[in-house]
Symmetry: C2
Subunit: 344 residues, 2 copies
DNA sequence: AGAAGTTACGAAACCGTTTTCGTGTTGATA
DNA sequence: TATCAACACGAAAACGGTTTCGTAACTTCT
């Protein structure tokens, strides 16, 4: 096992100083031709690579970005992550992922771990319990320390920072309008607890559409499910009890489950009931019938978030100091992917 | 924006030396009661947290582990990652993820980036093109440098290191045997190019089962699909052409696609044809009928990999030096989750 | 030949810690 | 009272780089 070679080793071996070696390797013109060549050849021969940690310490820059997400086993977050990783990797940044598991405490711990020099900035989607208890001091502290944050999807008004979201409300409106245009009148909403900003937005869009089309809002047509565990009986009852000819579901899994249960009850999809979900994942593509769904363009979202973060990070380095902070919120335009759960 | 506070700041403020501050904070008994309390109080007040980078440099230990996987938008890898992250996080390690995108070049670049001090060890699944071209020098170099690697799932005999795999061959054998026991005789295998060690193993298990049950191997019953793009026509032809009453598919997506196409052709599942897939993801759970599949227990695999890596990393620190390297291969027992694609 | 400017390199500081070692002060002991 | 621990702290080195500054040796100019 040959240990990593350092500048000091090279310097000793070649009987020059460490500074000379450093400069020679960076092709400084302070160093003579011969010495440069000698050093570079030696370095190449022994496959010298500078130690990232030492450079980080010196430059006060890690070239790492921290990503904190509630759950990695989730198609949407995964695609966002891919976008982040792709962009970051391109720009020479590494990505450290922490999973908050929808837990406020873990989110706080993870942030604290990474905030002590491990990363140059954060990209995150808030955990469910953080949104529920509305406590964002951990974010504030990090920002206070001069570490930039980009929030995506699960965001909050209470923190002033860059954000990337989709036009949830608008696209939900559009999806419902489309079903109404098909002549459907009894439109259900299948959602989860409203402390999630996105669910709330989607519900708003749903209501907007009803109002815009002159339909009445019937609270009985709104089914609220738990976030992490689907109670099939609840769904069964719902579709038995109410007269429904269309349903907007706030995610892919809800949609597929509801669709399956409705089919079991003998309803034909899309003839009797149409379904629209959110998240264009494998489930939507491979369900039967295939699911019409809102594509959130997670990868694009991730790239955008990474771009915003890295720009902020690199701006801070050449801080002219007097430029005041300015934060933006980018909206990624969601699109509706029409499949067979709404039209044949 | 208050900048991070350092030992030096505290020292200056309290008019003691940096070493005193450091020791006081670590509760060294070299330091007097009063001084300790003074320092600790001050540190608490200003929320002092030591700089991880500096500690890493000093300790030659980053407390980071590098994970390199071919694809993050993939249920199996995602669950393995969750296991890794969970275990690592518990032990105070961070996880840096790089996606090789099934590309040899990216795999090499990512490893090189991380090997220069950014991580204490690697956990990885080989990219498709790495397996295809059989070039593992990047792994050898890293191991040479004393950085441990744990390979999982996509492994190779050509590298001597810790590995975590599942009993692919055995479980495939078992799955096929089960279908044969149901009286099925025309068993298809839907697989992909055989440079993936896992596909190869599963194919072997398939063949083993046929032999064990005295059935003949019919090459026509083996359908080979591309890794990343499913050609539906190919599948359609296959099920039209061959007389098939059961199919073992090397992944979830293949299984669901095939099942859908077979159903379109008028076959009843499981009456006419039974299907078994690999990977117990959402697709398997929510397909219609629900899919019998091989659960790979990715999370457990990830935990095991992380455990092995961290143990090796921490052993190296107190290297008695004379203990010879020993590598193990852990086999996670896969299980068959029976659902409605094989029995009603 | 002396002044001035180049060239090519080394010493040392610095990033933020930890840790070893040295030392001045105290109190106890012989 | 001289000796010796024990105590409490500071100086300095180390981790592996980068960068500023100083300077010896050599050129060039007048």
């Amino acid at each position: 096992m040959k240990k990593k070679i350092t500048l000091k080793h090279i310097a000793r071996e070649l009987e020059v100083s460490v500074s000379t070696v450093s400069k020679a390797l960076r092709n400084s013109d302070e160093i003579g031709r011969d010495t440069k060549e000698k050093v570079q050849a030696f370095a190449r021969l022994y496959n010298y690579k500078p130690n990232n940690i030492a450079i980080s310490l010196k430059n006060k820059q890690t070239k790492n970005i921290g990503v904190i997400i509630p759950n990695i086993v989730h198609h949407f977050f995964t695609t966002v992550f891919r976008g982040i990783e792709k962009y970051a990797s391109d720009k020479g940044y590494n990505v450290i992922v922490c999973v908050s598991d929808e837990s406020f405490d873990k989110e706080v711990i993870n942030m604290e771990m990474l905030a002590n020099g491990s990363v140059d900035g954060f990209i995150m989607a808030l955990s469910g319990s953080t949104q529920r208890q509305n406590d964002f001091n951990h974010l504030r502290e990090v920002i206070e320390q001069g570490i930039p944050i980009v929030l995506f999807d699960r965001v909050t008004d209470q923190i002033n920072c860059d954000k990337v979201i989709i036009n949830d409300r608008e696209i939900a409106h559009k999806a419902v309008s489309k079903m109404i245009a098909q002549g459907r009148r009894h439109i259900a909403l299948v959602t989860n607890e409203n402390y999630f900003n996105v669910s709330e937005e989607r519900a708003q869009g749903y209501k907007d559409a009803l109002v815009a089309e002159g339909l009445e809002l019937d609270e009985n047509l709104i089914l609220t499910l738990a976030y992490d565990e689907i109670d099939e009986d609840l769904i069964l009852d719902f579709f038995k009890r109410e007269q429904i000819d269309a349903a907007l579901c706030v995610n892919e899994i809800f949609a597929v489950c509801c669709m399956g249960i409705a089919q079991k009850l003998g309803f034909k999809v899309p003839e009797d009931i149409a379904f629209v979900g959110f998240t264009d994942g494998i489930l939507s593509r491979h369900s039967r019938p295939s699911l019409t769904t809102v594509a959130q363009h997670g990868e694009q979202m991730g790239e955008m978030a990474a771009k915003m973060l890295i720009e902020k990070v690199e701006r801070e380095i050449n801080e002219d100091d007097d430029e005041q902070e300015s934060y933006q919120t980018k909206v990624i335009e969601a699109t509706i992917v029409e499949r067979n759960s709404t039209v044949n």
